[in-house]
């Protein structure tokens, strides 16, 4: 099922992100998804060697999850593949019945666990969108025709609504829309006012936007993100809230409460929510209940 179909039907779309393991045994991941996510989310978004840490591939994981009856979103970054490999993998995804893509530039290789690797970046998020659109039109990036019916996807991209430079984000968002982006996922949001202001400006593009949620696990994690993660500022009062009752925070209750509050405040301004649980998939059902989704 294409996500764009759900947006067209006016559904509030819920997706969750999962990271493949470092190894090829995925029974545990499949069990978790079947227990906590199946029936609660519209699609599962599978990361592509997230944070440049080498793991099992996104494409194969998507295929296994599709076989379990789940809808998947295949994440594809430009870090590890040149345009030949990117195009080939997109065609492979079409063959395997994957209909949703999330197209990203990708983190630099030096941030991961194989920092000696060659960073590729032959294309970037914008030209990658353009590349998929060309494939959908029946030709490759160099203009050579494809055989048979061309593939068709719901093409997604990311945007960072709470970043320091909103104007720069809007320009990039517009470039992505022009290159073919049909839906957006945002970086994690902790400042609903900023998100709402951003959406006031972004709605001119007429493309659905899914609010990004990372459940805060501890005050330490919040501070770490403030120092190191682009486009994220966890306000001081939230850090205080996480500090106040350590047991409650450790049990995940505080983080779930904060996240549900953010969703409720932003819900009317966006078309869906994308949850990046970072291993806390088990908390997603509680979060959705509390956010009345």
């Amino acid at each position: 099922m294409k996500l764009t179909r759900l947006f067209e039907r006016g559904e509030f779309v819920i997706t969750a992100e999962v990271g493949p393991p470092k190894g090829f045994h995925i029974n545990h991941l499949v069990d978790e998804i079947n227990t906590y996510l199946k029936g609660r989310v519209s699609a599962v978004n599978v990361t592509d060697n997230q944070s440049s840490v080498m793991r099992l591939g996104s494409l194969a994981t998507c295929k296994v999850l599709q076989d379990q009856g789940l809808t998947t979103i295949f994440q594809l970054t430009c870090r590890d593949r040149n345009r030949i490999a990117l195009q080939s993998d997109v065609l492979s995804a079409a063959l395997l019945g994957i209909e949703n893509l999330l197209l990203l530039t990708g983190d630099h290789t030096t941030l991961g666990d194989n920092p000696q690797a060659k960073p590729v970046f032959d294309l970037d998020s914008v030209s990658l969108l353009h590349m998929v659109r060309k494939l959908e039109q029946g030709e490759d990036l160099a203009g050579n025709p494809l055989e048979g019916e061309p593939p068709s996807f719901a093409k997604g991209a990311v945007v960072s609504p709470c970043s320091d430079s909103v104007d720069a984000q809007l320009i990039k968002m517009e470039q992505k829309v022009k290159a073919g982006a049909e839906y957006f996922q945002t970086q994690a949001v902790y400042e609903p006012e900023k998100f709402i202001k951003f959406m006031e400006k972004a709605k001119q593009f007429g493309v659905p936007v899914m609010l990004g949620i990372v459940i805060p696990k501890s005050a330490g994690m919040a501070k770490f993100m403030n120092e190191n993660v682009a486009g994220i500022t966890v306000p001081a009062h939230m850090i205080e809230e996480l500090k106040k009752n350590k047991e409650k925070t450790k049990a995940g209750i505080t983080g779930v409460e904060i996240s549900a509050r953010i969703i409720k405040e932003c819900k009317d301004y966006c078309q869906g929510v994308h949850i990046m649980a970072l291993g806390w998939e088990s908390k997603i059902p509680d979060l959705l209940d509390l956010a009345c989704l």
């Binding site: 990203l104 530039t105 983190d107 630099h108 030096t110 941030l111 960073p119 970046f121 032959d122 294309l123 970037d124 998020s125 914008v126 030209s127 353009h130 990036l141 990311v158 960072s160 320091d164 430079s165 104007d167 720069a168 320009i171 990039k172 517009e174 470039q175 022009k178 290159a179 970086q187 190191n228 993660v229 682009a230 486009g231």
Partner: protein, 209 residues
């Protein structure tokens, strides 16, 4: 060694907005510069556009030198709306920094020529990408100033203006945004998708010639 190649006449004509001051650099012997063709195009452009001055200098990549060389032209330069530079990418970047409030455009693309490496000391870096992007990026080279050499805007990794790869390094795209903001030219970034071409012109030549 480098080769500078002229952009197409249409592309160059597009850059001429208002009063235009042309600077050619015939400085170093590391760069092959198409003097004859440049002269021809500039003559044609003078016939149609408002070229208020056309000068030829050497080593404009050296900031100190540039000061002295441009001194007596500064009034005219201030008066100009556009500074059009015919040099390698380094020369254009040096001028774009030196004339920070001006629209500095490049009339050339820079390619590498395999063989002897140049020895001219330079403050700026040109990656000889073959399709100079400086006209879109406020004179800051995205190939060498961005850790991923991105040509369609910033990646999602910049934090507090620094690059995700190195917290001591300014994000090249942040610098580009700030420069264009200052020039009130942020909308130049709304260009159609750019895709790098890694094929060099001489790759297409038969190898045994």
């Amino acid at each position: 060694m480098l080769i500078t190649q002229l952009k197409s006449k249409e592309a160059i004509a597009d850059l001429i907005k208002g009063k235009t001051f042309i600077i050619n650099c015939h400085g170093c012997k590391e760069v092959y510069f198409p003097e004859y063709e440049a002269d021809k195009i500039q003559k044609e452009l003078s016939a149609d556009g408002d070229i208020i001055e056309n000068i030829t200098r050497d080593y404009i990549c050296s900031t100190d030198n540039l000061h002295v060389q441009l001194k007596k032209f500064m009034d005219k330069i201030q008066e100009a709306d556009t500074i059009l530079v015919f040099s390698c990418g380094v020369g254009v970047q040096t001028l774009a920094r030196f004339l920070e409030d001006k629209r500095v455009y490049s009339g050339c693309d820079t390619y590498p020529l395999p063989g002897i490496q140049g020895v001219t000391p330079m403050e700026f870096d040109c990656g000889h990408c073959g399709e100079c992007y400086l006209n879109y990026t406020g004179g800051i080279c995205p190939i060498t100033a961005c850790s991923k050499s991105l040509v369609n805007g910033q990646c999602g990794g910049s934090k507090k203006g620094k690059c995700e790869v190195d917290k001591d390094m300014e994000c090249g795209w942040e610098r580009i945004y700030r420069k264009l903001e200052k020039l009130k030219k942020l909308n130049t970034l709304n260009y159609p998708v750019k895709i790098r071409n890694y094929q060099l012109p001489f790759d297409e030549l038969p190898k045994d010639v």
